[in-house]
Point group: C2
Chain length 352, copies 2
């Protein structure tokens, strides 16, 4: 589409980017002050006087916010006194994915993003300093301020939760007796497996800190008899994944690592596997999304990895991940693209 826009239109698009942080914050203000919600209930249009009356914001405040976001296509003026949400504005108001993204970017990324250049130069998540003094965000997760933590987990879960129901069907086609849940984090996937199949035995492999959390969660669910906990730092190549799993599962895990690290982790997986072991990689891939909006969110999320999370990981393409799998002694035997209503695909792999 861009090929056809005029220079005048391109200059406008460039200004939208130049003023983007202010427009973003104007949208957040309209959300927080209840204006988008009110306009959503009056989708046919509402007078600015009524907005002022019902939300209690100043006439000045309503003026600057609405005028600015009108130029960004969020609202339109029906006449001098009346405004209406556009379709884009309605998405900003009512769409859950958009809300999750807005809160994640504002609470987790906004301030640290200013250090993106330095993060690229150093290979470190320099922006993370705005949240705390850790070397990766994963170290600090449990210590994040409440609103930041809430936005982080809402973002993390929103995308993977939609994938789990279909993922369970795929993994249990082969009736595995034991599953290793690598990078199992808070345990959500393992608990879902226990619910789905009354016989399967799980092992969560993760850093000791994460395991402690998963263990508490498992205990609360009465699942301790069915889940083992195996502390491991997969960035330390001397630490080996044990043998014995029928299935090895990695959900939204490999995108937390660089290509080199992924190769090392997958080689570790390969060594722990037999020809009968099925390895499942669940990831959202940039290059096989149905909707442009989804791949845009993924590439935007990569910037979060750069300046906040760890400084060296990203969302990958299916093509790159397939190459990394092959370079690590594994073979992709089946691809399940964009399962369920999710943006995630499953790569089923076997030892080469």
């Amino acid at each position: 589409m861009d090929k056809e826009i005029s220079a005048i239109q391109a200059k406008y698009e460039a200004q939208k980017i130049a003023f983007a942080p202010l427009i973003f914050q104007a949208v957040m203000a309209l959300k927080k002050l209840g204006v988008l919600e009110l306009m959503g209930r009056h989708y046919e249009g509402i007078s600015i006087a009524e907005i002022i009356r019902q939300t209690g914001i100043s006439r000045y405040g309503a003026g600057v916010l609405l005028e600015a976001v009108a130029g960004a296509g969020v609202v339109r003026y029906l006449d001098e006194h009346t405004v209406q949400l556009t379709k884009t504005g309605f998405m900003l108001h009512a769409d859950r994915m958009t809300e999750v993204n807005l809160n994640f970017v504002n609470d987790v990324c906004y301030e640290g993003a200013k250090s993106l250049t330095g993060s690229i130069q150093s290979g470190k998540p320099v922006g993370l300093k705005k949240l705390g003094n850790w070397s990766t965000v994963y170290e600090g997760l449990s210590q994040l301020p409440d609103n930041v933590k809430e936005s982080w987990f809402a973002f993390d879960h929103f995308y993977s939760d939609n994938a789990f129901p279909v993922a369970l069907e795929i993994v249990f086609q082969e009736k595995p007796a034991s599953i290793f849940d690598i990078g199992g984090n808070s345990g959500e996937w393992s608990f879902a497996c226990c619910d789905y199949d009354g016989d399967v035995q799980l092992t969560i492999l993760d850093l000791p800190g994460q395991l402690a959390l998963a263990k508490r969660n498992a205990e609360a669910r009465g699942l301790l008899p069915r889940i083992d906990f195996y502390p491991i730092d997969l960035l330390d190549e001397r630490q080996r994944i044990p043998a014995g799993a029928d299935a090895i599962w990695m959900s939204q895990f490999l995108d937390c690592f660089s290509e080199q690290e992924i190769r090392a982790i997958l080689a570790n997986v390969a060594r722990a596997s037999t020809p009968n072991t099925s390895i499942y990689i669940l990831e959202p891939f940039i290059d096989n999304q149905t909707f442009e909006a989804a791949s845009f969110c993924l590439t935007g999320t990569s910037l979060y990895f750069t300046c906040i999370a760890n400084g060296n990981s990203k969302m990958y393409t299916l093509q790159t991940m397939t190459k990394l799998v092959q370079e690590s002694g594994l073979t992709v035997v089946e691809v399940f693209p964009n399962i369920g209503t999710s943006y995630h695909s499953i790569l089923k792999c076997k030892k080469s």
Copy 2:
């Protein structure tokens, strides 16, 4: 245009806003790291390998930045290994107005913009705290860090400088013997008047701090014999503008005040005027711009006034300013819209 976009397109547009701060910082990084400049010299397309070689950034860094801004229409992939600036990308690289806006938003506004909601609620520029402990940005101008100061003045001058040549012709049509330059700031307009007309006598009216700067500048130019300096705080209604001017000039001055304050200032001007005094108001107006991009920049700039500058002023419409003029005992006798190549209009007014 928005009326016709699909829900799917609207969802994409909403994500562009949700990830806007990250995309903005990715563009800044591509500028700072020399990638946009390099791509501008290879407008036909350039390999990512060549970008890495010539700029020294990592393959990872090039990947995350280029993938993210591709989704925002800044670059396009010609194939897997080759990228090209879009027209929008070219504007972000080469257009001076866009550069001035990018630097202004990044250096002056970015961090403080997060306090936009609080600024609207309190009527105070809460975000200014990120730059220093002043009640308005004007108090702190001389103490801003160098890069912030540079971006602020570049923004301030970029827009008004284009207007001055034609403005001089308009004001000197009547051969005024004396001009009052209200809110004359560093003195640029008064110096331009002295250059333009060998006889005219100027008086700069401003806060004492600003006057000191203007005086130093006038001295350096040898213009002290032709310029008087009149200290005045126009927010204090007891302080009166003296009589005696043939012309009264206010350049990009009234947008620093709320509507109520503007009425008080204009009433002060009216009291100092006779029926023969010509009053000139130079302002960029939201509602009479030729290009959508220009009115978008103005409404975006209003948000800066809200969260950084003073908490209560904005860019106005021609309609609103005309109303304020009328309510203050003055009459607009002529409008000179978007003079020269500028976004500024002149309202010529007389005492009613």
